[in-house]
């Protein structure tokens, strides 16, 4: 894992000047960052007034960037039914260029995964339109939360790729590494905010990484579960027990930054007008696979639960070389019946360690 930075270039940004830098960015981009709202929750939020919000970088936000690149519900097209025909019009929605600031490594990894999903087979115009106008500014995780296990999925706590600028908190300053060209453009355009980094700063970054790595409170044996799934040695009983507890909420898939399954449906607006919507879906729902006429090729809940974990930990490893679980911990502890991926990994590895 990360040692000396493989990112091309690094600078320093004093924390005192962060707001000033963001204010410059907000002039040209829509700015999205994790904000602790007045109720105490941390959400990625569109920031209209920098002075009115509290940007929170220490607690992972409850929503991920998925909501911005693949919204919970979005219009694909509208249609009209006339005597002459049944006509579809492309959606008129426009997406402003956006800076996503304060993205944790798990969520950056998730965006990289989504990039593959939405351009591998076919280029998905709706995802890519949102993605192409985006600038990602990441922040490495100095304090993984008790639920986090990105160390086991190879997606944190520090990350070397995926962002345009990657920040590391060094106390009174950020070490800023530039990744893609757009990152260089930003640091050059507003070079007044940045000063050169030294070997000492880079050593401090390495020290921060070592400390962060030591702060994980749990060891989740994801690799082992992947091997067992690939070897098909996970007992059916594991899936059966977990599926008895699944209460069909869909929450694990909806909160997951890499669960990209969606459905498409028509919503009538009146007798002759309507819109075609794409919305989040979850493979754990019975209706996910049911065909017209009622036949369901995934006959039991067990099959759906197997699909969920097999997809994340086996099929996506085959596809991208790594699991699509990024260890963000969002699904951990939120399950109505205790059927989260960590429990799956634990049960799968029981007696084999």
């Amino acid at each position: 894992m990360p040692h000396a930075s493989s990112m091309a270039d690094s600078h320093l940004l004093k924390k005192d000047h962060l707001k000033g830098f963001l204010r410059k960015l907000a002039k040209e981009y829509r700015l999205v960052a994790p904000v602790r709202n007045r109720h105490g929750d941390v959400l990625f939020t569109v920031i209209d007034d920098l002075d009115a919000v509290e940007i929170e970088l220490s607690e992972p936000p409850q929503n991920s960037l998925k909501q911005f690149f693949l919204p919970q519900q979005e219009q694909l097209s509208t249609y009209t039914i006339t005597p002459e025909g049944y006509d579809f019009q492309p959606t008129k929605a426009t997406i402003p260029p956006t800076v996503y600031f304060g993205v944790h490594p798990c969520d950056l990894s998730a965006v990289l995964y989504m990039d593959v999903v939405f351009s591998r087979q076919q280029r998905d115009p709706f995802y890519l339109r949102r993605r192409q106008g985006s600038v990602l500014i990441g922040i490495n995780c100095n304090n993984p939360s008790p639920k986090c296990f990105c160390n086991a999925t190879g997606s944190g706590p520090f990350i070397e790729m995926g962002s345009d600028l990657q920040l590391t908190d060094l106390g009174d300053r950020f070490l800023v590494e530039t990744g893609r060209t757009s990152g260089h453009t930003l640091t050059e355009r507003w070079q007044g905010f940045f000063s050169p980094s030294t070997d000492k700063d880079r050593a401090a970054r390495y020290q921060a990484f070592l400390e962060a790595r030591g702060r994980f409170s749990r060891q989740v044996h994801v690799e082992q579960a992947i091997r067992r799934l690939e070897a098909d040695t996970v007992p059916d009983e594991v899936f059966a027990k977990l599926s008895l507890r699944c209460q069909d909420c869909g929450g694990c898939a909806y909160l997951c930054p890499t669960c990209t399954c969606f459905t498409i449906s028509d919503q009538p607006l009146d007798a002759v007008n309507g819109q075609r919507l794409r919305s989040w879906d979850a493979c754990t729902f019975a209706g996910f696979t049911v065909m017209a006429g009622g036949h369901n090729p995934v006959q039991a809940k067990t099959g759906a639960i197997r699909q969920r974990f097999t997809h994340k930990l086996r099929d996506d490893v085959r596809l991208t070389g790594r699991p699509s679980c990024v260890g963000c911990g969002r699904c951990v502890g939120i399950c109505f019946g205790g059927t989260d991926i960590v429990r799956f990994v634990e049960r799968t590895c029981q007696g084999s360690l």
Binding site: L244, R245, Q247, A286
Partner: protein, 528 residues
């Protein structure tokens, strides 16, 4: 609920009665299963093998309507095993001797036989419950929707008091409220015999207080209950009705009677967000704003009063129910002028002691407050009955078995139970409009045991006719051993299969609660 929802996960023993918790109260079930994962024991009393029953340690599959004998038998075991909490009984309760005498006269074997639950299982459940340090009882409409609903509830209270499982953190008796603001509607005095905060209409002092505050004289006699109003018949005592956001044409028992009553009115006005089955019968329909389009507060099952915040403007010409009521009231000669729901809440705080410290600014800055909250400095009450019962000493009310109003016979040989399912809410007015929820579940099914299905020659998913003495409907058979032979189960969410055409309007005289959980029906295969 006497406890908070989160306390349930700390209990050592959880006794669930008449609640399909995983489907009707998912967040409560989440705490129960979390508790189980931490080592708690889960006991489920339900005629059906619900999902929660499958996850339980003990499932007592009683015959519907035999809750009292079952609980009495459990209490007798507690007595016999010396598990009664004598100190608690001595210090905090009254009328114990009456209960003890009644229990001692019980023939345990006979009582167990009545319930259909093997005595050893009852005994095991009683001992688990009795020996626990922290134990909660959660119950829901499976307990109350019987002719003896009030006695059922009293018997649960007897059990909890006998074991001393009340008045402590993580310990108590928790009725789960079915609807999002059923607690609040009761608290606000939307009851025929109660002014806000359970101040009896019949009490002169309370009336005086409200008359002074409202500047109007108030009727003395308690009013009619919902079922009395909706089942009066064509020439009933009610001539006109105003219905706000309710759909008795799907939710009330014996729908033919409801329809006759509503059609027979001189005038019916309905305010709702969709054109419900009830609104279709109205002379005037008001388009109301939905929860996302107004501000105010709801009170949840754990007495937590929390803010409802406006997110968007109402569509078209919709107005909030507050606006509609104020307009009507002024036209009827009683002016009401409130600039905001916060102003209404200030009046509620003024007149309802348990809401005394509830103001929107406080609710807005917190996750809400649990009543009683006596004044602005009061932090709210996470669990009730600490140090004293609301009424003083806890009163044991011994009860004995009351059979349901209608039981299966030769003509209608099956016992029908009704309830809710996970994907839909109440009469489906909102949830049936959701593409996803409809995809997951878009029609009513009749759960029937494989034995009964075989006897009727039914295949999975086949349409069947279900009939009672009051009506008949068509729905799809779902063959499952979740129900015992001789019982069938369905839900009331679907207007295509309005089960309340069949249900009995026998009701509990104590609470006015209809007996939705038991009536006699027969199943007929459709001739295809």
């Amino acid at each position: 609920m006497t406890n908070s929802i989160n306390e349930i996960e700390n209990a050592e023993v959880i006794l669930v009665s008449g609640s399909n918790t995983t489907e009707a109260h998912p967040q409560v079930a989440r705490r129960m299963l979390d508790a189980v994962d931490r080592g708690a024991r889960l006991i489920v009393i339900d005629p059906r093998r619900t999902r929660l029953a499958e996850c339980s340690h003990l499932h007592l599959a009683l015959r519907p309507g035999t809750d009292i004998p079952l609980l009495n038998a459990m209490m007798r075991v507690l007595l016999d095993e010396g598990l009664a909490d004598e100190l608690f009984i001595e210090m905090r309760t009254e009328n114990f001797l009456a209960l003890r005498d009644m229990l001692n006269r019980l023939d345990l074997e006979e009582t167990a036989a009545l319930t259909g639950v093997p005595l050893p299982l009852i005994s095991q459940a009683a001992q688990l419950y009795g020996r626990a340090r922290k134990a909660v009882i959660c119950y829901c409409l499976g307990v109350t929707q019987h002719v003896c609903g009030t006695e059922n509830v009293q018997t649960i209270a007897n059990l909890a008091m006998l074991a001393g499982h009340i008045e402590k953190e993580d310990t108590g008796v928790d009725p789960l409220r079915g609807q999002n603001n059923v607690q609040g509607a009761c608290d606000m005095g939307a009851l025929p015999n109660m002014l806000p905060s359970y101040q009896a209409v019949a009490n002169q002092d309370y009336r005086d207080k409200f008359e002074r505050a409202w500047g109007a004289s108030l009727p003395e006699a308690p009013g009619k209950t919902l079922v009395e109003m909706t089942h009066g018949g064509k020439q009933g005592p009610i001539r006109g009705m105003y219905i706000m956001g309710e759909n008795p044409m799907l939710s009330d028992p014996t729908l033919s009677k409801v329809e006759e009553t509503l059609r027979g009115l001189d005038f019916l006005a309905v305010s709702d967000i969709f054109l419900t089955e009830t609104a279709q019968l109205a002379q005037v329909v008001f388009p109301a704003a939905c929860f996302a389009e107004k501000s105010g507060s709801f009170t949840n099952s754990e007495r937590r009063v929390q803010m409802v915040r406006q997110a968007v403007a109402p569509p078209g010409e919709c107005r909030t129910d507050s606006e509609i009521i104020m307009e009507l009231s002024s036209r009827l000669g009683y002016a009401m002028e409130y600039d905001s729901s916060a102003e209404v809440m200030e009046e509620i705080a003024l007149l309802s002691p348990i809401y005394g410290g509830m103001h929107h600014d406080r609710l807005d800055q917190s996750w809400g407050l649990q009543w009683p909250c006596w004044d602005r400095s009061h932090p709210g009450t996470p669990f009730l009955h600490k140090y004293y019962f609301t009424r003083g000493r806890g009163h044991f009310m011994p009860a004995s078995h009351t059979p349901p109003g209608e039981l299966p016979d030769a003509e209608y040989p099956l016992l029908l139970m009704t309830g809710r399912i996970y994907h839909h809410y109440h009469t489906g007015t909102m949830t049936r409009k959701s593409e996803r929820l409809n995809r997951e579940c878009n029609h009513a099914v009749l759960q029937i045991n494989p034995e009964d299905a075989k006897a009727h020659g039914l295949r999975q998913g086949e349409s069947v006719q279900l009939a009672s003495r009051r009506g008949q409907i068509t729905l799809a058979a779902s063959i499952t051993d979740q129900v015992e032979p001789g019982m069938v189960y369905t839900t009331f969410h679907f207007h295509e299969a309005p089960i309340n055409r069949l249900t009995n309007d026998a009701f509990d005289t104590g609470s006015g609660c209809p007996e939705y959980k038991v009536c006699a029906v027969r199943v007929e295969k459709m001739s295809s």
